[in-house]
């Protein structure tokens, strides 16, 4: 039935999709505004949306907020960079050598699903609530995302191209640069995109749970001191940060793969 109803509507009044999206967001804000105003939800637990947004505006004028946001983003960027570099180097080396690939496969399959939060007690003992704690968790979680994608990418190299390069006596380095890297790049970029959002999650988690300075800790402090509106405002900020990370990672993906058939439109 739904198919029959939507088909004519879609062809008739076609509201553009971005407008619908904005409408959806407006609806969300309206619902969050109405629930506490109408007394359906206790305002002490869920303040009206306008109060949250007002608090958000207030936060944006505070120096501490920007310090915390800087700490979160700094930790995220450093951890992500380390994980990407380590993942790419290890992935290209392991993936390029058949023997290493066979020998390490079981170990990687075993280490990868270990939840990074299992390491929390250990990093707390070793580093306490210093930024190093968050860094260890971020790098551990993001590294596997990159490594696994790079391994897929290196395995995807066309054997004919590889043999051609060998016939032409390309040096090992040239093979990596001219053959392996272009094939693996789409996978590397996918790994980067996955790692970017995982790294943000772990950074905020570490701040919230271990007390590493940053937005996550601010959320924890606001919640335990009963500043409900501020808690929500900061959660919204973290969500927007996540959206920004996802969007920019997708942008990087498109830029880095401009030449690739999956992005190019003219083929």
């Amino acid at each position: 039935m739904t198919g029959a109803v939507t088909a004519p509507r879609a062809s008739r009044g076609r509201i553009p999709e971005p407008a619908l999206g904005v409408l959806g967001l407006a609806l969300l804000v309206a619902v969050v505004e109405a629930l506490p105003r109408l007394g359906l939800v206790d305002g002490r637990f869920l303040p009206p949306a306008t109060a949250m947004l007002g608090e958000l505006g207030h936060q944006l004028r505070l120096a501490e907020f920007w310090v915390a946001a800087g700490q979160t983003l700094g930790g995220w960027a450093l951890g992500l960079a380390l994980a990407v570099v380590a993942g790419v180097v290890v992935g290209v080396v392991i993936g390029g050598v058949g023997f290493l690939r066979a020998v390490t496969a079981s170990t990687i399959e075993f280490l990868r699903p270990i939840p990074s939060v299992a390491l929390i007690p250990l990093v707390v003992l070793v580093h306490g609530s210093r930024p190093e704690s968050a860094l260890v968790l971020v790098v551990y979680a993001a590294f596997w995302q990159v490594l696994v994608q790079v391994l897929y990418g290196v395995a995807d190299v066309d054997p004919v191209v590889r043999d051609t390069a060998r016939s032409y006596r390309f040096s090992r380095w040239t093979v990596v640069r001219a053959v392996v890297w272009p094939t693996a790049l789409p996978y590397v970029v996918t790994g980067f995109r996955l790692a970017a959002s995982v790294a943000l999650i772990l950074e905020v988690t570490a701040e919230l749970i271990i007390g590493v300075p940053g937005l996550g800790r601010s959320i924890g402090v606001a919640q335990s001191s009963g500043a409900v509106t501020q808690t929500y405002a900061l959660v919204i900020v973290v969500g927007l940060l996540g959206v920004a990370v996802n969007t920019s990672a997708r942008f990087v993906e498109r830029r880095a793969l401009r030449w690739h058939t999956s992005v190019r439109r003219d083929l």
């Binding site: 039935m1 739904t2 198919g3 939507t6 509507r9 879609a10 509201i15 999709e17 619908l20 999206g21 904005v22 409408l23 959806g24 967001l25 609806l27 969300l28 637990f45 869920l46 066979a102 020998v103 390490t104 496969a105 079981s106 170990t107 075993f110 990868r112 699903p113 270990i114 939840p115 990074s116 939060v117 299992a118 929390i120 007690p121 250990l122 707390v124 003992l125 070793v126 999650i201 905020v204 988690t205 919230l208 749970i209 996550g216 959320i219 924890g220 606001a222 919640q223 409900v228 808690t231 929500y232 959660v235 973290v238 969500g239 927007l240 940060l241 996540g242 959206v243 990370v245 996802n246």
Partner: protein, 256 residues
């Protein structure tokens, strides 16, 4: 066969042996000898902690995960099948998905405090929901139009179309989402137990850490690791069986 086993087991055995040998004489407080950790295993995880820490944790994980699976697939099919609804929901879902799931804990704590199992199950379910929901939407959206039209031409009932065309066609994507959700679920299972004095696997590990029972803490970390590996193995088994047709299809496409 023996060669394959050798290749698969070689490095893990070498790594564990290296850990064993390097840590053998260790007097470092944080890095006890592996022999001490292994020795602590049977005395730490006796019947009582298994009954009061491990099993409740697993029960909460299962409950939250299943709720997320049912709600996520149902909502995903509804949103994915309707263009207007999808466009309406997309930015909202993008935003909700981008909120790191552990941040939900303080928000849920506002409503009901953070004691008891229900809040933990809600945390796990809310975290697992987004990957499943968004992947289902994608899966339903990318369904073959011809298949849908064929189902309509043959006047398949709505339920049959849903089961045989929509759900089956999007099941590879749903499985991908469910796999992501599983690792999120394990993470949230642990994190939800770190708040409030309660029992559970995550709570136990932190209890050992706070009491400086280091070998016991290590056994907990290893147990969590084994749990993660076991769950991902179990998931792969289920996926292997339910998506057998899909692998066959891909294989056939590649051979053409």
């Amino acid at each position: 066969m023996t060669r394959r086993a050798l290749v698969a087991l070689g490095l893990p055995v070498v790594l564990v042996a290296t850990w064993w040998v390097l840590s053998a004489g260790s007097t470092s407080f944080f890095w006890p000898p592996l022999s001490a950790i292994v020795a602590a295993f049977p005395t730490t995880w006796t019947a009582d902690p298994i009954a009061h820490d491990v099993l409740p944790s697993l029960a909460r994980l299962t409950a939250g995960y299943l709720v997320a699976l049912v709600v996520g697939v149902a909502a995903g099919v509804a949103i994915g099948s309707d263009r207007v609804l999808r466009a309406l929901c997309e930015p909202v879902l993008e935003f909700l998905r981008a909120i790191p799931p552990p941040v939900l804990v303080p928000v849920i704590a506002l409503f009901a405090g953070y004691t008891g199992s229900t809040t933990k199950v809600v945390t796990i379910a809310l975290g697992c929901l987004w990957p499943i929901l968004l992947n289902t939407v994608e899966g339903v959206r990318s369904l073959d139009e011809v298949l849908r039209d064929t189902a309509r031409s043959y006047r398949l009932g709505r339920l049959t179309t849903l089961r045989q065309v929509v759900l089956r066609g999007s099941s590879p994507r749903i499985a991908a989402g469910a796999r992501q959700a599983l690792s999120v679920g394990v993470i949230l299972m642990v994190i939800s137990e770190l708040f409030g004095a309660d029992r559970g696997l995550g709570a136990a590990v932190v209890r050992f850490q706070r009491g400086f029972a280091i070998p016991q803490m290590w056994t907990g970390i290893i147990l969590l690791g084994l749990l993660g590996v076991a769950l991902s193995g179990l998931f792969r088994l289920v996926e292997h069986r339910t998506l057998a047709w899909y692998r066959g299809l891909r294989q056939a496409e590649r051979e053409v």
